[in-house]
């Protein structure tokens, strides 16, 4: 069975159908792309899948569990983590602390332990530091761990967002335009990072992207959205050469 099954998902804002009848099955370990022109409803799909919006129609399941109507907090705990199109780091916190916030729900010490710094606190904090530093090392951010995150260069901020999302130990990772604002070299590096994450963290990744080189380079399958509806779905190479898709992007 697929890891993520989305069936006829839709949402209306007033009279506007922002997303209509969206369905997709994503297998475990897959790198899946969601593309489409500006305003097609891609980010709305992410907001539906992470519980920011409640769907008006349809259902979605992760590992067979129904996630409709759950809050973003519950959905994160059940295994979906995301990054944002406009970077949303905890900008005044250190790079290390950003990742440690991601690890929050995997720690068990309570407020009493936290306030009195009991041995349990010390033990778990130490383990947490180690885990966070290892994760930062993967993204080549370990040297900047004490920087405030807003002081990081743009590309590293993007990487930190991915590291922070991974720290919540998700089953499915949603990346919203990870290559936005990157130059070709940075994009190239990002592609290998995404592949590395998929292989080493055993991760399933759904990503929104405008950079067709990235999509063509790493995604195995894609769905094209246009005006909130599904235009095409299938193997990346086939879909990208579909005349309807080319028309949607370039016009008649």
């Amino acid at each position: 069975m697929a890891l993520l099954t989305v069936k006829n998902l839709g949402i209306n804002f007033g009279g506007l159908k922002a997303v209509d009848d969206f369905s997709v099955n994503i297998e475990k370990g897959m790198l899946y792309g969601l593309i489409g022109p500006n305003g097609a409803g891609k980010t709305t799909v992410f907001n539906l899948l992470t519980g920011v919006y409640k769907p008006s129609t349809g259902t979605f399941r992760l590992d067979g569990e129904l996630l409709n109507g759950k809050s973003p907090i519950e959905i994160n705990r059940m295994g979906i983590a995301r990054t944002f199109q406009n970077i949303r780091l905890f900008s005044n916190m250190s790079v290390l602390d950003n990742v440690k916030v991601g690890l929050h729900n995997h720690q068990t010490y309570n407020i009493f332990d936290g306030v009195f710094h009991t041995p349990k606190y010390v033990r778990e904090e130490k383990a947490m530091d180690k885990e966070a530093e290892e994760l930062l090392k993967v993204f080549d951010l370990d040297k900047e761990k004490d920087f405030r995150s807003f002081n990081l260069p743009y590309g590293k901020q993007r990487k930190l967002e991915i590291a922070r999302a991974l720290a919540t130990k998700p089953k499915l990772l949603l990346l919203d335009e990870p290559a936005a604002g990157m130059n070709p070299n940075e994009t190239e590096e990002l592609m290998s990072t995404i592949r590395f994450v998929r292989d080493n963290f055993d991760m399933t990744i759904l990503l929104i992207e405008h950079d067709m080189r990235l999509v063509g380079g790493i995604c195995e399958e894609v769905t094209v959205l246009n005006f909130g509806t599904e235009l095409a779905q299938g193997k990346t190479s086939e879909v990208l050469n579909d005349p309807r898709v080319i028309t949607a992007y370039l016009g008649e």
Binding site: T50, V52, S71, P72, I73, N76, R77, A81, R82, F84, R88, L89, F90, S91, N92, M93, D97, K100, V101, G102, L103, H104, N105, Q107, Y109, I111, D113, G114, V115, F116, H117, Y121, E124, E125, M128, R164, A165, T168
Partner: protein, 325 residues
């Protein structure tokens, strides 16, 4: 010995803080005993500790959670009345009665923190600020109209239990608890909410819960500070806990720097001492106090002053390093 040295290195900040804490306690006690401070000076030490407790606890809401609360005096008054009514009616030895009163005052304020927190914390920003402001005023009006609180005439006959030692210990406990909280996973969650509430939710942080925890913690210590306050003045009047008091605490927090605990402590000391130091100027006192506030705020926020401060700090650092070598 090697272990001890390692401990010193890793916990340098903590060790220095402990040394400063103990030194301040001893110095203040010597000054009181030797009479250098005089009666008036010694009388200011308790209000300083009270203001430190109020400012540090409010800083948790304003500086770390990032929400504006204008009702801190409300929590303080609830705690003050609860604790003082307890000591008036209870008949226990002071050693047990007073600490118990501090806890009762704190807990009552914390309960009020939950009561107003649950509906109010779904708001944020300006709206939450107005609600907390209204809460403070409602509490004051209620206390004013009740009989067992003494009404507008005030609650009299409170024992003068507060002394420097108790107030100092209470302030230290406040500081340690809040600093430790901030450095735990719960504190990080609170700071994450301040920095970006949307991604905090996306990281699975229970936003409402942590907002509530911050309010309850802050209310607890404000309540305990209120108990100290009541047992210091021996009389409680609802008029003291008005909007101005909340603003005064907020001024301390802003002056000390939001999210800076040492800043709050230093600012609390300055703001408590300033009106007293200016007492000789009689008529111009409040005028000069206000001007001093404006100057401090300006110099604190200006980048040039920050550079200047950094320069002095680096010189000082170099000097101590040379001495060490």
């Amino acid at each position: 010995m090697e272990n001890f040295k390692n401990l010193l290195r890793t916990k340098k900040k903590t060790v220095i803080s402990v040394i400063i804490g103990i030194a301040a306690f001893i110095i203040c006690n010597i000054l009181i005993k030797s009479g250098v401070l005089g009666r008036q000076g010694a009388g200011l030490l308790v209000p300083i500790c009270i203001n430190i407790m109020l400012a540090v606890s409010l800083n948790l809401i304003v500086g770390f959670l990032g929400e504006l609360s204008l009702g801190h005096a409300g929590f303080m008054s609830v705690g003050a009345y609860a604790g003082c009514l307890f000591t008036i009616h209870a008949n226990l030895p002071t050693v047990i009665e007073f600490p118990l009163a501090l806890i009762i005052g704190g807990l009552t304020a914390a309960i009020f923190g939950v009561i107003i927190g649950l509906p109010a914390l779904r708001l944020n920003g300006d709206y939450l600020a107005i609600v907390t402001l209204a809460f403070g005023e409602i509490i004051r009006s209620i206390i004013n109209s009740l009989d067992f609180t003494g009404g507008a005439g005030g609650l009299k006959g409170i024992n003068k239990f507060s002394n420097f030692n108790v107030a100092y210990i209470a302030a230290i406990i406040t500081i340690v608890v809040i600093v430790n909280l901030v450095n735990s996973r719960h504190g990080r969650a609170i700071t994450a909410i301040r920095d970006n509430i949307i991604s905090a939710e996306a990281m699975g942080i229970n936003v409402v819960f942590y907002k509530l925890i911050s309010f309850v913690m802050a209310a607890f210590f404000a309540g305990a500070a209120g108990v100290l306050y009541g047992h210091h003045l021996a009389i409680l009047k609802p008029g003291t806990f008005d909007f101005n008091k909340s603003i005064e605490i907020l001024v301390i927090v802003v002056l000390g720097g939001m999210g800076s605990i040492p800043g709050s402590i230093i600012a609390a000391i300055i703001i408590t001492l300033l009106p007293e130091l200016l007492r000789d100027l009689s008529d111009y006192r409040m005028l000069i106090y206000s001007i001093a506030l404006i100057v401090m705020m300006l110099s604190n926020s200006s980048p040039k002053f920050a550079d200047f401060r950094e320069k002095i700090a680096s010189k000082f650092r170099r000097k101590t390093r040379k001495e060490a070598a």
